[in-house]
Amino acid sequence: MKKARNMTIGKAVIYLVLTLLSASIVIAFWHLLNLSLSPSYIATKGGLLLYPRDATFDNYARVIDNRYIWLGYKNTLIRTVVGTVLQLFFTAMGAYVLSKRFFPHRTFWTLFIVFTMFFSGGLIPSYLVVKNLGLLNTYASMILPGFISAYNLVIMRNYFQSLPEEIEESCLIDGAGRFRIFLQFVLPLSKPILATVALWLVVGHWNSWFDVLIYISDDTKFTLQIVLRRIIITGSKEILDTSAAANAAEMESVVSSEGLKAACIFVTTLPILCAYPFVQKFFVKGIMIGSLKG
């Protein structure tokens, strides 16, 4: 009650702005959901859909029927889980080493890694590396090329640096080795940063499609985003070929309807959307928790 009385104009404005901001996001999703439940001619009429008209589950039935969606789900889950776990662990190890002041030539190695944030080999050299390592058409090609992100590494390094060295010293006195200290003390104390980086990695893997496009030609290894992309972009652009036969061939194709596209988007984004709230609490906790409490 007391809080309500403390409501000032400033706060009211903040709430209003935040409400509008949320609405601008929620309405888009709501429209999409209604679109996915509507037959195609409703979509052609255009305009904002506040409730589904002539509601039908046909679109969802067709999405569920599409075996590539399920294959894509499988592949996306594999790359997301395996990729995130491995990348997180190895990034943390690298960051931990770089966070130690007594690590020889620390500045050099840090710059060596930061350097990769500004320069990259480019598409074709990357492809050649992946090809010559024999990684084409493997899950490894989706995980290894971007295995350690310099950005994530630096962020983690900074976090590790902020942990008091006294804890580690006390551990050393108690007889713990370096690896044990890392696993049993540093990592548990670093949950917020691990969760943050893990979320970035998960979202990155979930949304990534270009590496699959380039490195994977085996259709059973296509990820969800590639499948979704194919469904979404079919027919949305005019082929700039003035030949009528090309046009006719293109028209023969059954172009995905707006409703189907919406249903696909929903089916593919929903899981990642649901993951957000659970990880989000770690974001708010800030970078420095725990310290000497334990």
Binding site: Y41, T44, Y68, Y127, S217, T234, T242, A244, A248, S253
Partner: protein, 539 residues
């Protein structure tokens, strides 16, 4: 003893017999091919590729193992280029455009061969082309075909040869209910720019949808673009295409041609009269993410006429025997099953010009090119397969349409009706091996009949465009990408800003020359020089 000798003999015979097929079994030649596909081929469900391989082997003695490679359409060039660089590109891939064909040739990535070699290995294909295609109606284009296939005197590509290639791609489509309301019949549809403008005025002011509100406009953006044709121009207005016309022997961009000023003046006058939607540039026809050919503005009763789609998109049920063209379906879904639309003639301008840009019967954009890494023997084998496609209708039907009853059924008029969606058909192998041609049909009577002459919608169109003012002849004078084509992005912005401001009356038409100067200064002059050099070299 005797019995055991017979037994030994029998065993020996059996062993030899067992060896015979193993010895006769030569290793099939592996060929990989990547064409535009609607979706990946599913190796588990692929029934067509093995069937085609079997027919090739049994009927033509061609023993091949064909691998159909899926490369996504939207990023075809990008993916292919990385694979070319990595040495993992397929044996057969698409030329994509005259420009990429040049690049591939210049970089030594594709094979070239003598015309004699082609004639020897694919004699029927060669004869078909030389005879001017199915009914000889392309006889006049044979030289152009030859020219397009050659680089430095050697063949590098088998261009496509299409009787409908020079038909206009778009059609003016009027709302039938509005025409009825205003008492306009097919005979009284506008045939000149003046009549067209007058009808747009009636569409805007006489409440053609009968709802009592002033909520209609005549002209959509694409219909506005059609007026450029009335002045002998094609335009990329609000888009990225670029068009060139020849005036007094010089190549001039449509964007700065003197006639363009007249079109803009006409449009500005229409705008001042309120005949054009003030939000005409806002993308009310093609809506992002939606099927491109649907004019949402026209389908939903904001505009009376659009040129966003081709006659095929608006084909009638009775023409196709199916559910009608894709845009027609949407039109009926929104406006009711009895609603009508009318194909209109192109309005003629002061010099009698009319129409929309047209293509060319000869094109390389959908044709296959052959990886430079392959041996001559392999290329010869591919040409033999192409020849088999041209002579063996059963084989062609298998590769192009699949198995009768499962993947397609024959229709009375000689065409086929596919029984699955394209992505599904691709998955089971249809079109896969056919891609040895690129995206084209085989050079055979059957293939041409199915694709053009017996296909009611295209036959209809072939006849349709024989009618006066439905046919059209505005061809781009420059058919290759110019070296400095990157400059167009900036130039198109300059053009669009100037034209939109002039149409809306925010900028005086007297500033036309200033606009032309700024266009030339921003790189237009460079491109014009390049275009003229290209044109001079070509002729």
């Amino acid at each position: 003893m005797k019995g055991s000798r017979i037994l030994a003999l029998a065993l020996a015979v059996m062993m030899v017999m067992a060896l015979v097929p193993a010895m006769a079994e030569e290793e099939p030649v592996k060929i990989s091919v990547a064409s535009y596909m609607f979706g990946p081929i599913d190796n588990e469900r692929d029934v067509i590729t093995p069937l085609v391989e079997q027919q090739l082997k049994e009927k033509h003695g061609i023993n091949v193992d064909i691998e159909v490679v899926y490369i996504e359409q939207a990023n075809y060039a990008e993916i292919l280029n990385t694979r070319l660089a990595g040495g993992t590109a397929p044996d057969v891939f698409l030329a994509q455009s005259a420009t990429t064909l040049n690049t591939y040739y210049d970089q030594g990535l594709i094979k070239s061969w003598d015309e004699e070699f082609f004639k020897e290995n694919a004699p029927d294909v060669y004869a078909f082309v030389m005879g001017g295609a199915a009914y000889g109606d392309l006889a006049g284009d044979v030289e152009a075909w030859k020219k397009a296939s050659l680089k430095d005197g050697k063949m590098v590509v088998i261009p496509s040869f299409k009787p409908d290639g020079s038909m206009p791609y778009k059609t003016l489509i009027y709302r039938g209910d509005w025409l009825d309301k205003l008492g306009v019949t097919e005979e009284t549809l506008p045939k000149t720019v003046d009549e067209f403008v007058a009808l747009m005025g009636r569409f805007t002011k006489e409440d053609p949808d009968g709802n009592g509100a002033d909520d209609t406009y005549g002209c959509s953006l694409t219909a506005m673009k059609a007026l450029f044709g009335s002045y002998g121009l094609a335009t990329g207005f609000t888009g990225s295409e670029s068009y060139w016309v020849v005036r007094d022997g010089q190549v001039v961009s449509s964007d700065v041609a003197p006639e363009a000023k007249e079109v803009i003046a006409t449009l500005a006058a229409m705008y001042a009269d309120g005949l054009i939607d003030p939000e005409f540039v806002a993308g009310k026809e093609s809506v992002e993410g939606s099927y491109w050919a649907i004019s949402h503005g026209m389908v939903n009763g904001l505009y009376g006429v659009s040129a966003n789609a081709s006659i095929d998109h608006y084909r009638l049920k009775e023409v196709m025997g199916d559910d009608g063209g894709r845009c027609a379906q949407e039109y009926w879904a929104v406006n009711g099953p009895d609603s009508t639309f009318v194909y209109g003639p192109w309005p003629a301008g002061p010099n009698g010009d009319y129409g929309w840009q047209v293509g060319n019967p000869v094109a390389v954009s959908e044709s296959a090119v052959y990886n430079a890494d392959m041996s001559d023997e392999k290329l010869a084998l591919i040409f033999k397969i192409l020849n088999a496609f041209a002579t063996d209708d059963e084989l062609y039907m298998t590769a192009f349409a699949g198995i009768e009853g499962t993947h397609y059924e024959k229709q009375e008029n000689g065409t086929i009706k596919r029984l699955m969606g394209n992505e599904e058909l691709n998955a089971v192998g249809v079109w896969g091996v056919r891609s040895l041609y690129g995206n084209d049909r085989a050079f055979s009577q059957l293939a041409y009949d199915m694709a053009f002459y017996k296909d009611p919608s295209i036959a209809n169109r072939l006849n349709w465009f024989k009618k006066d003012q439905y046919n059209s002849y505005i061809q781009n004078a420059v058919t290759e990408t110019l070296p400095s084509a990157d400059l167009f992005a900036e130039l198109n912005t300059i053009r669009d800003e100037a034209w939109v401001a002039m149409i809306r009356g925010e900028r005086s038409l007297d500033t036309w020359d200033e606009y032309v100067q700024s266009w030339l200064a921003a790189g237009g002059q460079t491109l014009t020089d390049e275009a003229n050099a290209w044109y001079a070299a070509k002729n």
